[in-house]
Amino acid sequence: MPSIDSLFGIHASALKLREQRMAMLASNIANAATPGYKARDIDFSAALQMSEDGQSPEAAIRYRIPVQPSLDGNTVELATEQTAFAENALAYRSSLSFLNGRIGTITRALKGE
């Protein structure tokens, strides 16, 4: 019998990672005015590979290299963070719709329609 993980494929772990990345980007946006804060992000493909291999994806956290660092040591660039956040939200939505489609398929198969 297939486990729930193989039922949903890569999107189950992708959704979890997307949520983690969303919290991380939200942290960056929250700290946009904090002196000395260093923006961080997840290397998504590396993190996905790690969680597929059963490792903790925390090793895929990287510091963002700023285009133009500010004098107070803060490396948050709002334009970058906002684009990354929007892209991440869209990818989360697409994972959700893939999952929805999969659930729909299985439900139809179960009902025998």
């Binding site: 959704l15 949520e19 983690q20 969303m22 919290a23 991380m24 980007l25 939200a26 942290s27 946006i29 929250a30 700290n31 946009a32 005015a33 904090t34 002196p35 000395g36 804060y37 961080r40 997840i42 925390e58 956290i61 709002l78 906002q82 956040f85 939200a89 989360y92 939505r93 959700l96 999952l99 929805n100 659930i103 729909g104 439900t107």
Partner: protein, 134 residues
Amino acid sequence: MTNNLSIFDISGRAMSAHLVRLNTTASNLANAGTVSGSESTAFRAMKPVFRTVMGEAGQATVQVDRIDTSTTAPVKRYEPTHPLADKEGNIWEAAVDSAAEMVEMLETSRQYQNNVQVLATAKGLLSETLRLGQ
């Protein structure tokens, strides 16, 4: 100390920190024109200092660490007819840079809006996840 922060904690606490910042800006602007009879009692601009609060796995939120008082000296003005003037006829104007405070206000409100937007997006995504399979 590490603690698990939800996205609502992160943005919510950032919003309250920015509200404190907006409040100090409002106080500074409200006191921009005030005069005083001595240098020590003259109003000096206040400025909050933010500090990162770390959570688990790269999450972080922000809180107000302390509120600093500006080191800019109040402007001394010779105005002997003023009711608050001291023996030499001097009064002190509040050490507030109105233009800088206006810029501060704009930046704060933009960042508050950013956090609200993050919260709205996260809320939308999470409620979509709740409806998964329906």
